[in-house]
Symmetry: C2
Subunit: 154 residues, 2 copies
DNA sequence: TTTAATTATACCGTACACGAATTAATCGTG
DNA sequence: CACGATTAATTCGTGTACGGTATAATTAAA
């Protein structure tokens, strides 16, 4: 159990807000990825979606949404753009026709060869070593899960 | 100096990516703020801009961009919306007419009375105490600054 | 077993976020 | 002083994000 929050100790500057630091760090990473992803003609969310598919192809949209922590009304148009770029295919489920399954094309799979180098470059921009990053990832993912759980509708 | 990055140890799942965890945590915070900000008819970026002005009124747009870590082409329309909501005023600089200075209206200043409660609610959703949050903020802001410095054009 | 509720995805409108280009004002150097 | 370079802010186009709503398919219930 965390200590109760003391009103007088609340951060007042955005520089001390956890949410603002995460918000601005997100933009910073986006800008760091941009020049590399531009060469692949991809956006950051598109790249993340592909990364998920490289690990597990053939997910349906709902599963992809869960992994991306995004709503389907965000993911649907993103996938349509990836499809029009020729990197994925979308196919209605046969058992349940409400579902749409997403699979990589050869073009989408081929992009994976750039992944390790991109990851390496990004990690180097952080100035952190893998050990420190891993600890930070655990901390932030735990924080995110707490916020999502507290925010979720029952 | 961080340890050199070993290619074989690179994270391969997005769940291990520092950028993805920050990206998804950002959305989680946005969703946590939403219901509270909706009552004030504000978005999260608008709320952050106001928070900066509550601390230091009368900044020009460039200074606001620096503090927000955003480009002026994002901030300009955001401020126009805050102006049309009646929370701020915009005035051309007299010495340098290229600059535009932003100041709070009584309406914009009045919103500040909700701030402490909102901050408290958000902190409680994290399940972290202030001490742990402060350490995490230092870690993430340092990371962000590293990424921004590494990405900046000379 | 027809209807009612739920589920999976899509569509629409609003608001970021940013690259690229634009405009207007100021500065720098001859 | 002049005029090209720089700077501050804006405009525009594309792509997220999400609330709200719609649609069609599946499931549950009366």
């Amino acid at each position: 159990m965390p200590k109760p929050v003391a009103i007088d100790d609340l951060p007042k500057s955005v520089e001390e807000f956890i949410c603002f630091n995460i918000y601005s760090a997100g933009h910073a990473f986006n800008r760091a990825y941009s020049p590399m992803l531009k060469e692949l003609n991809l956006t950051y969310p598109q790249y993340i979606a592909l990364t998920i598919l490289w690990e597990e192809d053939g997910l349906n949209i709902g599963e992809l949404c869960d992994r991306l922590r995004l709503e389907s009304n965000t993911v649907t148009p993103l996938l349509k753009r990836l499809e029009s770029l020729g990197h994925i295919k979308r196919k209605r489920g046969e058992i349940d026709e409400r579902q749409v399954f997403v699979s990589l094309t050869p073009s989408g799979r081929a992009l994976q060869k750039h992944a390790a180098n991109i990851t390496k470059c990004i990690i180097e921009t952080t100035g952190y070593d893998l050990e420190k990053l891993e600890a930070l990832v655990k901390n932030i993912s735990n924080l995110r899960d707490n916020v999502m759980r507290a925010t979720a509708v029952p």
